[in-house]
């Protein structure tokens, strides 16, 4: 068993990012303080090149490293989502880091390594690789959460994230160990073959193993009851990183979960759909109802991301191609709306990344008409109102459920989106309908952030009105 350059081709996007990460690591040492932005630009280039390589190889279908890693449309689609997220987050970070006086090269390094981990997570068929990738990514995230280390919240967030993340990953290891014990391998295809012919006892044990593995993934995608870190971490992390965390790791984890579930757990579909049914329902309901009481924009988005994870679980629960495709599409749509919303949070944030209370948005729509309008679009998008990407995404998710005759799941889903409309619209209310802001609120007047807000808003609308090509791409991507 020997490796060839062929194997390296499959990880070109990862390699590019790794290369750039190392480049930053080295160049950072010689950069004077005022030129630290070059780090960011380098990271941006890395992302762009990686993105370009993903696009060039979009239709490739290859496996490498003893089937441990593949490059297929699914992984490429997920890569696109992650790289776009990374791109936007990096753009959002430029001025942010300058303002916070934390303009360190390490930020971008860790970020790039995390993306590498995510890409690997998204493109592997081996559970153990998944575990390592998840951990790499998690560690990156712990670090980025605590990056503003002089801030109480940051420390606390990182601490919680760390404890809970490690806690959950133990169960992931346990689950992987069980699969290994049962089937002698952690390769999903082997597991699938084994499961197809497995005895009832094996199947039963496999379900339990599935549960433990799911703890790990559930933690990453913030499914109830493994969600508890989400709001705290989102609220405490640097805003660009909250944005990043709410999309990219989720995209990777969802794709990994899809692979694990669809490929590995295919034979016991009947069982995991039931489990996921319950989890999806609880997750949506939890996220949405608790979000009703939030006062802080970032925290609200944290809860809302729990809810959105619930919606996406609906797509997986549906257990059909449409469902998987729509999960991917939803991730793609969610990218823009959530990043946009976080960008607005950044826009209103003060020094030390504070001041993201919703109340600070009072009269915002009139003071900043364009950005206000964009926020309006994001809010309606998150609530799932057409003509936005969020609506189309939700439509497909629920229609997948309906296709699998999971009517109640779909109904609970839409009821939830009606509940969610309340708190999203409440933001609109505050922006437009509560009169002027009394106190002086200094916004973060960063051109990149504004550009992000406007461009994501346009994208949200564009995808909402002309979803066709994106949708076919998403639907075609999940043919495993």
């Amino acid at each position: 068993m020997f490796y060839s350059t062929h194997d390296l081709v499959a990880i070109v996007p990862e390699l590019i990012l790794t290369g750039f990460a190392f480049a930053i690591l080295l160049i950072d040492l010689w950069l004077p303080k005022r030129a630290k932005t070059i780090n960011g630009l380098l990271a941006l280039f890395g992302v762009v090149f990686s993105f370009a390589s993903v696009l060039t190889m979009y239709n490739t279908n290859m496996t490498a490293f003893n089937h441990m890693i593949v490059m297929d449309k699914a992984s490429n689609f997920a890569s696109i989502v992650m790289l776009l997220t990374a791109f936007v987050s990096i753009v959002m970070s430029f001025d942010f880091l300058k303002r916070e006086d934390y303009n360190l090269g390490e930020y971008y390094e860790v970020l790039l390594f995390s993306i590498v981990a995510m890409q690997i997570l998204a493109s592997t068929y081996s559970l153990i690789v998944m575990f390592i990738a998840v951990e790499t990514l998690s560690i990156g995230m712990y670090i980025l959460t605590g990056f503003l280390r002089n801030k109480d919240e940051s420390v606390e967030g990182a601490m919680k994230y760390f404890i809970l993340g490690s806690f959950a990953s133990t169960f992931l290891v346990l689950g992987i160990g069980m699969f290994y014990g049962l089937f002698g391998s952690t390769d999903l295809n082997v597991i699938r073959t084994g499961l197809t012919h497995a005895s009832a006892l094996y199947k039963w044990l496999a379900i339990l193993a599935f549960l433990f593995v799911f703890v790990g993934f559930g933690f990453k995608i913030a499914a109830f009851p493994f969600h508890s870190w989400t709001p705290d971490v989102y609220a405490s992390a640097p805003t660009p990183m909250s944005a990043f965390m709410s999309v990219a790791p989720k995209a990777a984890a969802f794709l990994a979960l899809l692979r694990f579930i669809v490929v590995g757990m295919g034979p016991i579909e009947a069982n995991w759909t039931k489990i996921l049914w319950v989890i999806a329902v609880v997750t949506m309901t939890f996220g949405n109802t608790v979000a009703l009481w939030q006062k802080d924009l970032k925290r609200l988005l944290g809860y809302s991301s729990i809810a959105h994870a619930g919606y996406m679980l609906v797509g997986i629960t549906a257990a059909n191609e449409l469902g998987y495709g729509s999960v991917m599409f939803y991730l793609f749509a969610y990218l823009f709306m959530n990043l946009g919303a976080f960008a607005v949070a950044e826009f209103i944030s003060q020094k030390e990344d504070r001041g993201t209370e919703i109340e600070n948005l009072r009269g915002f729509g009139y003071k900043y008409p364009l950005i206000g309008a964009a926020m309006l679009v994001f809010m309606f998008c998150l609530a799932g109102v057409p003509p936005t990407a969020g609506f189309v995404g939700k439509y497909y998710l629920f229609s997948a459920a309906v296709k699998s005759h999971l009517y109640w799941l779909a109904i609970i889903g839409v009821i939830n989106s009606a509940i969610s409309a309340y708190f999203y619209l409440n933001i609109v209310v505050i922006m437009y309908m509560k009169g002027e802001q009394e106190k002086e609120v200094n916004v973060f007047n960063s051109i990149p952030v504004k550009a992000v807000i406007l461009i994501t808003a346009i994208c949200v609308l564009y995808i909402g009105i002309f979803p066709s090509s994106f949708l076919s791409a998403a639907l075609n991507s999940v043919v495993f």
């Binding site: 605590g146 109480d152 606390e156 601490m159 919680k160 133990t170 290994y180 709001p231 925290r299």
Partner: protein
């Protein structure tokens, strides 16, 4: 086999309980180590009973991961200490509800 698995289960449960009931961050960290070792034991036991060395290889990865985790965990502990001169995790609970 059951014996090893039970030991593994005990370690995981003890570690989990530690995470749940202890307030000292360092001890939480240790509990996490114990947990992951319990899981690692499971893997090694599997490896032995299957007659497949992959499990042992995996344990190496897990050890590496655990080490990195600990490194970061300790960094966080230092942050906490710097911030509040305390590593009681209950002192860090302003983010809630």
């Amino acid at each position: 086999m059951t014996g090893y698995l039970v030991v593994s289960a005990l370690l995981i449960a003890i570690g989990a309980t530690g995470v749940m009931i202890r307030r000292n961050f360092m001890i939480v960290l240790m509990s996490l180590e114990i947990m992951i070792n319990g899981a690692g034991l499971f893997l090694i036991a599997m490896s032995y009973y299957l007659g497949n060395v992959s499990g042992q290889v995996m344990f190496i990865f897990i050890a590496a991961v655990a080490a990195s985790e600990t490194a970061v965990g300790l960094a966080i502990a230092v942050m906490m200490y710097k911030k509040k001169k305390s590593i009681d995790i209950n002192d860090f609970s302003i983010l809630r509800k």
